[in-house]
């Protein structure tokens, strides 16, 4: 019961912060509201039982990625003399409309049959058992370093490429 209350609380924060992200004209403000969303989401993750992901969410997203965003915003000096960048009212209606339609359809999809969303149902116990047995990190690490080993390596390679690519793109002279 407490969990439900906490969920609705954090869900409200996440939605509110999300709306603020989209509507703020100052990019710095947007970025800060986005961090709020991330924190709310991290809380929801821990509510569900994904402790490790919750931590990672804060460390990587709120910590690293958003810092990068802010850093770029500051670097480009966008925080002060930002221009109004919202599009016309017609576009706002269009965007809102399409968002609502998307929401309606997603709601329809998700509400259809949630008892066995992927055709199989291991039950909350299975994950809980794994977390209990191997710990929050171990439960994720085991499949990641066994079944998804190659994917992990490829992800590492991707990060390397991204680093090199970012350096190449951002350097003044190559």
């Amino acid at each position: 019961m407490l969990t439900d209350i906490l969920f609705f609380f954090f869900a409200g924060i996440a939605i509110f912060c999300g709306i603020m992200v989209v509507t703020r004209r100052n990019p710095v403000a947007s970025a800060l509201w986005l961090i709020g969303t991330f924190f709310a989401l991290a809380a929801i993750y821990t509510l569900i039982g994904a402790f490790f992901i919750g931590v990672i969410q804060i460390l990587v997203y709120a910590g690293a990625i958003m810092v990068l965003f802010l850093f770029v915003i500051m670097l480009l000096n966008l925080g002060n003399d930002y221009q109004p960048d919202l599009r016309s009212r017609a576009w706002m209606i269009t965007a809102g409309g399409s968002g609502l339609v998307l929401l309606a359809i997603l709601g329809r999809v998700f509400a259809a049959d949630t008892t066995a969303p992927l055709g199989r149902l291991t039950g909350p116990e299975a994950v809980a058992t794994q977390v209990a047995e191997y710990g929050a990190v171990g439960a994720i690490a085991r499949p990641m370093y066994t079944d998804y080993m190659i994917v992990l390596q490829v992800t590492g390679l991707l990060l390397l490429v991204a680093v090199v690519g970012a350096v190449m793109l951002a350097k003044r002279r190559v």
């Binding site: 992901i53 919202l86 997603l106 998700f110 199989r120 003044r172």
Partner: protein
């Protein structure tokens, strides 16, 4: 309860979409994309108790890819900014014929 998690995911995703469509600031568009990614992550996490621990593993990968994407994307924005002194996408019509 799962329905609510997924509903929240859908709402956040829609907000992100609306933001990408309506904003012209490239960095804010980027942030909206991050918001959409997080919405999807929430779906994964919410489903993982039912579908297995792989949901969380995938979220981990999504975060890694998002980090890479943010790095490259921001580098592109910096490169573009050097050209036109702006991050307003109206100035970036290179995709045009």
């Amino acid at each position: 309860m799962l329905t609510y998690y997924l509903g929240l995911s859908a709402i956040l995703f829609s907000i992100g979409v609306a933001g990408v469509i309506v904003r012209r600031n490239a960095i804010i568009m980027f942030m909206c994309i991050e918001l959409m990614l997080n919405a999807v992550n929430l779906s994964f996490i919410a489903l993982s108790p039912y579908a297995g621990i792989e949901g969380q593993v995938f979220v981990f990968f999504v975060i890694a890819v998002a980090a890479a994407e943010a790095a490259v994307g921001l580098a592109i924005i910096i490169a573009l900014f050097r050209h036109v002194e702006s991050v307003d996408v109206r100035n970036f019509s290179l995709l045009r014929w």
